[in-house]
Amino acid sequence: MKKTTIWRLCAVLLAFGLLGAACGSDDGDSSATTAAPAPAATEAPADPEPEPEEEMAEDVTLRVLVHQNPPMVEFMEAFNESFEASHPHITIDLSVVEAGDLSIATQTRLSAGDIDVVGIFGFSNAAQAYMSGAVPPNWQTLIEAGLLMDITGQPFVDNYDEATIADAGSFNGKVYSINLGRVSYSGMFVNKDLLAANGLDVPTTWGELVTACEVVKAAGNECMTVGGADGWPVFVGAYGLLGAMYPDQEALVEGLWTGDITWDNDQSVEMFRRMQIYTSDMLEEGVTGLSHDAGPPRYAAGDVAFMPTGVWQAPALESAEPDFDWTYVPFPGSDNAEDNQYLFGKYDQGWAIAADTPHPEAALAYLEAFSAPDNYQAFANAVGFIPTQPTAVLDTHLGREVAPFLANYRVGFEQYWVAPAGAGQWANGSQAAAWFSPFNEWTDHVALASQAQADLQAGLDAN
């Protein structure tokens, strides 16, 4: 072997070494080296006012993560443009991921220090004292890991109502998120024209709903549609039925854990029976192939009487057919109209800031601008959320339709439920609507109720 060969070999190895070093030295945005030091984990900047010259004058790219929701993303793009115009040194880098992938993207990007502002759903599913062996929810783990900034005392937090901040954005007395709106998922859209054409009123009891479905189907129309291809819209569509049977959903979760309530008691079996009717008889054929996003255009065609789903579908429905005459009412799951007056739902999108963001000032400025009452009002109008700022009103078609029920708004089962470790796949009976044919194999509601309780009990017994 000649000396030149040895040298070439060494040069190749050196090149590999340099390549490795170059790959490993990326510490993100170059501006990070000149930015103010990040605040300690879970703490707000000691003083948001100082050092405007150094920090705020630097060109900053603020990385923002949200989940896919067409009206919201459209609003965000417009808001970002306006924010960049008023803050010329800040550029917004907006990432949009599917709602189901938000928690994965949030966790990985927070852990990698690759995000500044994250969209985060309202805090829910906290492990309660009676939940033996329950694993804490993801948002709690993120806070305990010091990955979310403590924004307690920031002026913009006061723009939101206290209950929202306490229920959906706080942990151990500190605020980590501002929540931007509540949504209801337990109601249904009602096609007023179709009901009127068939001489029907908006149903207020289960019996009236069954009758209305029979009448519209006899007239050659469809009773209900829902985005069944995505799975979850099927059981979310039946959350109103669950709410009508068990109006105190927090108590329902506790009862299931303590054994005071079971999925196979008489009341639950009746609920399972009605869920089967909803799935097998009320939903139109072919919904197994209809995606959630395709639901509103299908419904706006006008030949379907009801679409049980969340209020977040209202903008898409209006966009699909502006002249379509609809209202939104609680799903009448009970024979007693008094039980059918509640809207159940959840705190939806919120904002949180990464604790180790290299641009805390810019991130806080972003949230402050977003929380300005005018901007927030425009956001609420765009996405159809029930506002969480007391000065805002839902001045839309949806807002007017749900106004009579807002006094009866309650957080739903989905936000309280935590499955015991070791519970089987049928343990969450609130999803039973999606387990009946044609979506799954069950055709006997009594057998399914019994299986749901057995799967739950197996988990309870294992802890």
């Binding site: 072997m1 060969t5 190895l13 929810p137 072919g286 192939g289 070791g422 194999e441």
Partner: protein
């Protein structure tokens, strides 16, 4: 008759050519380290990218790791394995997922292997337009899983999709991916085969093109029929390609899960073990809200999957080795 050319390690030379001697590449002394030095970067990358994470997964499987930076990781011993295999009704679902994985592997391996071989035989003839057909059959391989899934979601729309339309001609109807778990599962098998049969076909084709034409000519002179040509010439000499495809199909189908995610999502009665690992590790088990990230538990599940793949792959390897000896030794 001229003498055969000397071996490469010979130090002699002929009048026709200068022979490259062994000590050019593998010299004595410290120079002999050259091959090792050349291998080092690749070996280092292999350790870093393949062996390291595998060992880390094995270690994580004994902990309550969440994958979230800043959270303490606690040693649990065999608790994750105990929960995965024996605890409550969830263990029943895990075993069912394991059984489903084996069923998936059996059908995908069998059908993909046979279909790939059939296509290769057909496209190894002087068929007109065979290059176009080879391209068409191979094309799904280069598509990403998300694209493959989206294409088939459109094909399989229950209301008016192309497949539903064809079914209606013969009086059939199906809910396809959104319907009964068994139906949905069967359709994922179909898509998995469609997505990967191209690579099976190409490996067979490559194997067939190494078989000397003279063997076929000799067999034809002896009066061999088409089936006899395949049975006695093609099949034995295709042994390396057969073995490669057999192992690749088994391992690939045991590890498959992405198509389940894209086509079905997390639905009771449809998960395979690979999807279970993903769902547990990234909080996707609730069906709607995000559940906790249980990456230690998911690591235990992935070790169970690894053991399954290892046992089946070792058995398959022993089988194909025997077969190789039988035909090629």
């Amino acid at each position: 008759m001229p003498a055969p050319p000397p071996l490469i390690n010979s130090s002699e030379s002929t009048g026709r050519m200068k022979i490259v001697t062994r000590d050019y590449l593998f010299a004595r002394g410290w120079k002999s380290a050259a091959p090792i030095l050349l291998l080092l970067p690749g070996f280092g990358l292999y350790l870093l990218i393949a062996v390291g994470p595998s060992l880390a997964t094995a270690v994580y499987s004994f902990t309550d790791a969440t994958g979230i930076r800043g959270i303490a990781i606690n040693w649990l011993g065999f608790e994750n394995y105990d929960e995965f295999l024996f605890r409550g009704a969830a263990s029943r679902d895990n075993i069912a997922a394991l059984r489903r994985t084996l069923i998936f592997c059996f059908f995908v391996t069998t059908i993909q292997f046979c279909l790939g071989l059939l296509l290769a035989v057909l496209l190894n003839t002087r068929l007109r337009g065979r290059t176009i057909f080879r391209t068409i059959f191979f094309m799904p391989v280069i598509l990403g899983v998300a694209i493959q899934g989206l294409i088939w979601k459109l094909f399989l729309l229950p209301g008016g999709g192309p497949v539903a339309e064809m079914f209606s001609w013969i009086g059939w109807s199906s809910e396809f991916l959104g319907g009964q778990p068994r139906q949905a599962f069967a359709w994922v098998i179909v898509v998995q085969i469609w997505a990967n049969v191209g690579i099976t076909m190409v490996i067979f084709l490559a194997g067939m093109q190494t078989i000397p034409e003279s063997l076929y000519e000799a067999a034809r002179i002896d009066g061999a029929s088409g089936w006899q040509l395949f049975r006695n010439v093609t099949w034995p000499l295709l042994t390396p390609a057969v073995n490669t495809n057999f192992l690749l199909n088994i391992v690939g189908s045991l590890q498959a899960w992405q198509l389940f995610l894209v086509l079905i999502g997390y639905r009771p009665g449809t998960q395979v073990l690979g999807y279970l690992v993903f769902a547990e590790g990234f909080g996707q088990t609730s069906g709607s809200v995000s559940s906790a990230f249980r990456q230690g538990y998911a690591a235990a599940a992935s070790i169970a999957l690894f053991m399954l793949v290892l046992i089946i792959a070792l058995a398959a390897n022993a089988f194909v080795s025997r077969r190789e000896k039988k035909y090629l030794s």
